[in-house]
């Protein structure tokens, strides 16, 4: 298998993830897009690990997974608190810092 197919897939997923982060109204969807980006990165890491015949890639991907999980937990907690305050999960409504 050639490396670039994995990288292409990873890049495609990353791009979709970015699209989702930038355009989705619902906050949870944004978080899902962020997860998608992280997954793409994982894929990238594993592909390079396999290509270079080393286990380091997979280990790093394990770290990323852990962090992603923790981050989702915090992120959802933040979403919940936001919802409690402004009764909307719309990211456009969080504009208290508007200058």
């Amino acid at each position: 298998m050639l490396l670039n197919q994995f990288l292409l897939l990873s890049a495609f997923l990353f791009g979709v993830g970015i699209y989702g982060v930038l355009t989705r109204k619902h906050t949870v969807l944004v978080l899902m897009s962020v997860e998608l980006m992280l997954a793409a990165v994982n894929l990238n890491l594993v592909a390079f690990g396999a290509y270079n015949d080393t286990v380091a890639g997979q280990v790093f991907a394990l770290f990323v997974l852990t962090i992603a999980a923790a981050e989702v937990g915090v992120g959802l907690a933040i979403v919940l608190l936001i919802y409690r305050n402004i009764h909307s999960a719309d990211l456009d409504d969080v504009d208290v810092l508007k200058g």
Partner: protein
């Protein structure tokens, strides 16, 4: 030689006493008069010492000079002299020994050296003697005369300053120092005439005296400068030194026209200071000052400063006006006119001091005329004798006023018949009058006769006649004066103290002050005036007797009839810097004529006043006589000419022009520059400040605000917007890296 070489002490001591009196006088037991008397006394002693040493010096030099003659020739000459006139012979015109000369350089700039120094010769010694003697007597006299005066101390300070200045003038060895002394005596005269300056009339008189002499001083200043350049022309290096000036004038290296104008300019100075026509108008008005001042300054010393100048730089006049020629010259003409007009005016005065003032003008005319006809020694001798008898007459007039006429000087209203109560004053006044009239053997006779002799011998016949006419008038008006004062009935009794209308400037103010304030301060003064006229006390009469002594005997110093010419010997300057002076033998005929004329004058006045003969009250009956008298009483309308026409004509337009410049030019400059400044301010405010500076500031602020506003739009507060920016930034960065690689 001590006194001659240290003659600079003579002016210095009174100068120091001036300072001392000014600083401490009021605290001293006699209010400064003791300092004044002591200092002038010391100067007098020094002057006497100098005189004695000079006479010795002359004796030594004369012995050497006459050594060449054998005793036989000398004896023959003295025989010839005592017989009388031996044709137009000149006797011994050598000139005396050289002057003692000391100087130090005061200031040097470029090629010009200004010295201060003394030049002591017979002339200077004679003047020192006269000035210090008369000043001393006036100081003593003033103790009583000015007792209780409100500015007694300043009076003595001014007298000291005057003495110092006059002596500075007298001993000067260069014309600049003489000029300094000249101006200083003018200043002191101003101060002393205006001594009672509370009366406006006194102030006017003082200002008039100062300004009139100032007018003459223009000529003096020009003359002094011209003589400096004359010396430069003659020797190549200019100098103010009097000996150098005289030698340059005599050297023949200077053009005649230049010398003439030098002499004319200096003559103008003499005219102003010595009261010659036409600048004589200040002298009678100067009588507003206290009588001792009139005696010292306006009779004996200051007014003769002009004659002294003429005598000192005589070669300038001698060569410049060509005095040896005979006929008429400027100097003699000025003197001659003055003789006559002064004498004429003395006839119509009611104020005794004014009579004496015009008499002084007339006698000064004699002196200048004497210089002008070449009779140098005669003119100086007349200065010498005149100082004594004129000071005597003034002080006696003061005594009369002080004790006999309630401080008034009006003869017609307050005097008359005073010889009964004031015998001493009467006696000395008679002596003075006879001396003035020129009666043998009193002092005035010798000096006046010599002038007349000089005029006739040197081919100046016109001035001989002028002098004789003057002598006639002098005798007549003095007799009138004596009559009105001492004979007839006493007219002062009707106006005991109370009536102030006749008081002249002298005492008008004292009278007013006595009325206004309590008389306590004046009590000792007025105490002895209650009751009629009486003789003055010793302070006043002692100086009178001393001056009377000199009036009688001073003439004998040059009594040529008795073959004495001591004065000539002693004062004639050395031939090294002076012209040859002619001396004439005694002429019995001339003497007889002059005494006869004087006696005729006395007789005419006697007939008119004592006997009531002649045209009594003619001017009341005859219109021509009345207008003539009015012409005289108005002093030839000269005052009207000077003050009304000349001064007003100059000061009127000048004042108006100055006022116009002030109002239109200066004020407008100020106003318009003020307005301009205001307009400039407004423009600056409106455009520069409000629109310019504020515009920039406001613009800056607005633009900053706008920029901020523009940039603020990035801060949407929306998370996804920020994330978009982030992604775009990363993309741009990656692109840049890709391109760079």
């Amino acid at each position: 030689m001590f006194f001659l070489e240290n003659a600079w002490l003579v002016p210095l001591i009174p100068a120091l006493s001036f300072v001392v009196i000014l600083l401490f006088g009021k605290r001293l037991p006699y209010q400064g008069s003791e300092v004044g008397i002591a200092s002038v006394g010391a100067s007098f002693v020094l002057a006497c010492g100098a005189a004695i040493q000079w006479i010795d010096r002359v004796g030594d030099a004369g012995g050497d000079e006459h050594g060449g003659e054998g005793p036989v020739e000398h004896a023959l000459r003295s025989v010839g002299r005592s017989v009388g006139r031996l044709g137009a012979e000149e006797t011994g015109a050598h000139g005396g020994p050289d002057a003692i000369h000391r100087s130090l350089t005061w200031f040097q700039n470029g090629g010009v050296k200004l010295d201060v120094g003394i030049q002591i010769d017979g002339l200077a010694v004679m003047m020192m003697f006269v000035v210090t003697l008369v000043s001393l007597l006036v100081h003593v006299y003033s103790v009583e005369y000015m007792r209780g005066d409100r500015r007694f101390t300043y009076f003595y300070a001014a007298l000291s300053l005057f003495s110092a200045s006059m002596l500075l003038l007298v001993v000067a060895d260069n014309t600049l120092q003489l000029l300094v002394g000249w101006e200083l005596v003018g200043l002191c005269s101003f101060m002393l005439i205006g001594h009672w300056w509370e009366e406006g009339a006194n102030v006017n008189a003082a200002v008039k005296a100062f300004l009139t002499t100032r007018t003459g001083d223009i000529g003096l200043l020009i003359g002094v400068l011209m003589t400096y350049f004359m010396v430069e022309r003659a020797t190549g290096e200019g100098s103010f030194n009097i000996i150098a000036v005289n030698q340059a004038a005599m050297s023949g290296d200077v053009g005649g026209t230049f010398l003439f104008w030098c002499a004319a300019a200096l003559l103008l100075g003499i005219i102003g200071k010595s009261g010659q026509f036409p600048l004589h108008t200040w002298l009678p008005d100067a009588m507003a000052g206290p009588t001792p001042v009139s005696a010292l300054i306006h009779a004996a010393t200051m007014v003769v400063a002009g004659v002294y100048l003429g005598a000192r730089v005589y070669p300038v006049f001698y060569e410049g006006l060509d005095l040896a020629r005979g006929g008429i010259n400027l100097m003699a003409a000025v003197g001659g006119i003055t003789v006559v007009i002064g004498a004429a005016l003395a006839f119509v005065q009611d104020d005794i001091k004014k009579v004496l003032a015009y008499s002084t003008i007339s006698q000064l005319g004699y002196m200048v005329m004497g210089l002008g006809v070449g009779a140098w020694t005669a003119a100086i001798f007349h200065l010498f004798t005149h100082a004594f008898f004129k000071a005597l007459l003034f002080l006696a007039a003061g005594s009369v006023s002080h004790s006999g006429a309630h401080h008034s000087f009006d003869m017609k209203k307050d005097m008359g018949g005073l010889r009964r109560w004031m015998p001493q004053t009467f006696a000395v006044f008679m002596v003075g009058s006879l001396a003035l009239a020129g009666i043998f053997p009193l002092a005035g006779f010798w000096s006046k006769d010599e002038i007349l002799l000089g005029a006739s011998e040197a081919d100046y016949k016109l001035f001989l006649y002028v002098g004789l006419i003057g002598a006639l008038m002098t005798a007549a008006y003095m007799t009138r004066c004596v009559y009105l004062t001492f004979f007839g009935e006493y007219r002062g009794g009707a106006h005991a103290h109370a009536d102030p209308t006749h008081l002249t400037g002298d005492d008008l103010v004292e009278h007013h002050l006595a009325e206004v304030q309590d008389d306590a301060a004046h009590a000792p003064d007025h105490g002895d005036h209650h009751g009629g006229p009486h003789e003055s006390n010793r302070w006043l009469t002692a100086p009178l007797w001393i001056l009377a002594f000199f009036s009688v005997f001073a003439g004998l110093l040059n009594a040529t009839a008795f073959d004495i010419d001591r004065f000539t010997e002693w004062t004639n300057p050395s031939a090294s810097y002076f012209v040859e002076l002619e001396h004439h033998d005694f002429d019995v005929v001339m003497a007889a004529i002059s005494v006869g004329i004087a006696l005729l004058g006395i007789a005419l006045a006697y007939a008119y006043y004592w006997r009531g003969m002649g045209l009594q009250n003619f001017s009341e009956r005859n219109a021509l006589a009345r207008s003539g008298k009015r012409f005289l009483v108005n002093k030839y309308y000269l005052d009207a000419l000077y003050e009304g026409v000349i001064v007003r004509g100059i000061k009127g337009p000048l004042a108006r022009a100055a006022y116009w410049v002030n109002q239109k030019v200066i004020d407008n400059v100020l106003n318009y520059s003020g307005r301009g400044a205001m307009a400039l301010g407004r423009v600056t405010y409106d455009y520069v400040d409000q629109k310019g500076v504020d515009g920039v500031m406001n613009g800056l602020a607005i633009s900053t605000g706008e920029a901020g506003g523009a940039v603020r739009r990035i801060q949407t507060g929306r998370l996804q917007f920020y994330a978009l920016m982030l992604v775009l930034g990363v993309g741009a960065f990656a692109l840049a890296l890709w391109i760079a690689a």
